[in-house]
Structure formats: C-alpha cells, structure tokens
Symmetry: C2
Subunit: 274 residues, 2 copies
C-alpha cells in the first residue's frame, strides 16, 4: 500500500515515546498521520497537543478510545457517559477523524453478556447527539471474541453493523484485522459496511503463531498468518480510501525496540506486505 | 444438573492419572461416564483399555480426538486421512458415543483460511463412509476463534451447522461452552443444531477473567463468567439428553491438584452451578 495512507497508531510506540516525541519522530520518519490514545494526550495536555499537531501539520485518523459502556448501577452508568462525552470533546479538539469505541466487556461480577450488549447500544445512543453536534463520528471497533469478557462484547463485524443499523447517522465501524481475520462471514460483512458508507478506519497488525499473551503479543504485518492483502482488497472494494493505522500491542517484541526502528520496519512492511 | 449426566473428560486429570488410574478413580468417585483422549488409550493399549471399560462398566461419551485435516500436499493429506480412520476404529473399539473432531488450523506457512476450511469439508466427507459403517458419529467441535490459526478453522456453531448441512448423515456437533459462549448468534444456532438432531455432546468449563494462557487456563464451572445455566437451558430445550463432559485444560491450577480433589469439586459444581 502506498506510504501516504499509513497512519501510526501511537499504541505501537507507547512504551518508547511521549505524544510530543511521537509527533516529532513520526514527522522525521515521513509519517504525517497518527492516532493517539487519550492517556497520551492527557499526559501532554490537550492544548499543547493541539499546538503540536498544528505546528507539525499532522492529521489525526482517530482518537483511541471511547467506550467501556456496560455498567452496574447508576453511578457507573453516569461515569461511562461522562467519560465518553469528554472523549468526544477531545476528539473534536484535535480534529480526529473518528472516536474509536472499544465498547466494553461484562460489568464486574456479571455473566449477562446479552445485557451488556444492550447497555452498549443504550449508551452509544445516549452520547450520539453530542457526537453529531461535535462532528465526531463514533467508530465501533469489533474486538476479537477472546476479549468478550473484559474488553468488548461487540465481537463480530456483523454485530457492529447491526448496531449501526439501529443507531443511525454518526456511527460507523473501525475494522481491525487482528480482531476479525478469523470470521467466516468477513468478506460479506466488509461489503455491507462499505455499502452503508460506514468504514471509519482500518487497523493493521498480524496474528502470531504461537500467540503467547492474549493482550500484548500482536505481530508486525507479515510476521503472522493473516492474509492482509486479501482482506485489504475487500476493504478497498468496499470503497474505503482513508488512512490505514498500524497498531501493534507488543510487550514481548516491538515495545522493547527503539521507536525509530519500529517505524522503519512498519513503513517497509506497509509498502511490501499490506 | 443431576450427577448421572456428568462425564469426566480425561483431559481434566491428564497430568495426574493414566487411563487405568482414571477409570478406577472415576468409578470410586461414582462417575460412570468418561471421555478419554487417544494418547491415553495408546499408552494403556487399546485391548487393555477395552477390558477396563468393560470390567468397570464405564460408558464412553466421546473419544478425543480426530481432525487436524488441513494439509499441504498429498503426503500430509494421506496422513490426515489415515490418522482419522484409525481414530474411527479406536472410537468403535471402545464404544464411544462419538469421535470428537478438532478440525485443524492453517497448514504450516499458509495464510489461506478459506482453503483450510474447504479441506476440512473435503476430508470429513472422505472419512465419513467409514465412520458410518463403523457406527461412529463424527462430532464437529467449533473452537474459539483464538484457535483459528493453529487448532481449528471451524470457529462458530453456525459454521459447524453449515458443514453438517453439506455433509449429511453421520456428522453432528459437539458444543463446548468455552468455545462458543461469546457468540451473539448462540441461542439460535443451538436451536438449529437441536432441530437437526445433531447435538452429539456438551462440554463444560468456564472462562476465567483474566485468562493468562490461550490454551491451558480454563476454569472450573462457576469460577468464570459464562452463564452456564442459561446456555445449558438452551441445549436442554434443543432436546439434548446426553452426557455433559467436564473438560478443563488448566496447567495453572487444576492439573496441579490431586485428581480426587478435582473430581470432587467438579461433581459439586456440576450439581450446584450447571
């Protein structure tokens, strides 16, 4: 894929760089699009982050992340809504292409996944008017089923599309290959997402064999078994022309390497593998 | 659930007991139904295993496992077929209720999951006449999507049902809650499996939060977040009246405890939780 479409998701270098270092480092590496995480912005300060983004002419493909909606009681519900409203403000403040939603798993002590899924729909619907007003599209990211208990009960692209059908304008989908590559219905659901005009992002990394940790053993594109060109072709044909984020959680490998090296390898693989 | 329906899958005590010890130990614990693994039978010797089963009056709910079908080349294809034909013979020899199929992941070096899925269908179709002749139902067990690369490309109950539709008589489905609990289509697909009269087994364990290992950190029923009574109710209403196997891969906990203790806890939880 041409390098112009690369966005560096800053989770990929979160152990090495602050937000400011990442802006400077990406610019030096010729990368003009990034996707920060809220804790990185907070550490930098949002006003200062805005200035850096402007001074360095960076585009923000998405802000990670809103979500974690399921709640146990009124206090948790309010906290989830408030936190997501702040996330919408922050996304608007930095001109993010979307706010990525990691929708959240089961509330503590709960075994009610159907209920958690209803709460997710309820609270996205609740924050949606503010997102629309702020001009911030909400990007539901289906997460791999191995995260259903503790990170997101939205586990297939079909589910994310069904949610979007219910919620209407202002909500779309972020497709992360790591989470969806295994899905037998993937090509059809990517086409459906595209037809509805709701692909808000594409995240790239690879599935390693063996995978030694559920959360932080993701691979660089080309090092695993995902047929990235195949799936990217489906996303292309579905009409997506936006940024493609390289997002790699890798405590066992890439987080241990110098960030400049990680960026160089990511760039090479983006062009040669993706 | 009444204790009469409990079957002890011998993976649960594989680090503690040989097949013979497990037969004796289960009998002493009042458990008359078991599901052995082929390596356990091989270690015992199949003729001796048959005698033990007969002497102790044990029922065999299923034999684990056939499968691992996807191949890279004619030699691997033949080896997969031969191994599965042997598994069918062994299942027949011990009077197993079914041969459980863990269908296999990607061949080494492959990224072609659609191709692997076609090979699975092809080779089940290939061994099916022998399974029918031997009176051994083949039980396709959908595995959690986190095993799609290395253990099974059959990752949802819908997929297993679709395969059964294509393959016809002699093939059914084994439902393991660990693998399917997260699936938003679960209740409908369980009903579909039941309507077709093809539920060949129900495996029980629990999903721990956090899960510290992809393969061997499964939980005892009640220790995790699966709503076991809910899903078991769906399986009941789908008409399943057979054995319910307790199958727990737990290098971090249960494999380290005395097998007698594991059986006692499993029995208690089977009655109180399931």
């Amino acid at each position: 894929m041409p390098l112009e479409r690369l966005s560096m998701n800053l989770a990929t270098v979160r152990e090495q760089w602050t937000f400011e270092e990442a802006v400077v480092g990406c610019r030096e590496a010729g990368i003009a699009t990034i996707a920060p995480w809220r804790d990185q912005l907070e550490h930098c300060g949002i006003a200062r982050a805005r200035r850096l983004i402007s001074d360095y002419g960076m585009s923000i493909s998405g802000l990670c992340r809103g979500g974690f909606f399921p709640y146990d009681g009124a206090r948790e519900r309010r906290a989830a809504v408030d936190d997501n409203l702040r996330a919408i403000e922050e996304a608007a403040a930095i001109g993010a292409g979307c706010l990525v939603l990691v929708c959240g798993g089961l509330p503590a002590g709960s075994r009610n996944i159907a209920g958690a899924r209803e709460q997710i729909e309820e609270l996205i619907s609740k924050i949606l008017p503010e997102a629309r007003s702020a001009g911030v599209p909400l990007g539901i990211e289906p997460l791999h089923p191995m995260y259903a208990a503790d990170r997101s009960c939205v586990n297939t692209l079909a589910q994310a599309n069904d949610l979007c059908d219910l919620l209407g304008e202002g909500v779309g989908v972020v497709i992360d290959l790591y989470h969806v590559w295994w899905d037998p219905r993937l090509s059809g659901e990517i086409a459906r997402t595209g037809e509805a005009g709701r692909i808000l992002g594409l995240h790239l990394c690879d599935w390693l064999v063996p995978t030694r940790d559920l959360a932080t053993d993701r691979g660089m594109m080309g090092d695993g078994i995902i047929d990235i060109p195949l799936v990217r072709g489906w996303v292309d044909r579905a009409g997506y022309k936006g940024a493609c984020e390289v997002e790699i959680f890798s405590a066992l490998n890439w987080w241990k390497r110098p960030a400049g090296e990680v960026l160089e390898v990511a760039k090479q693989r983006f062009v040669s593998v993706c």
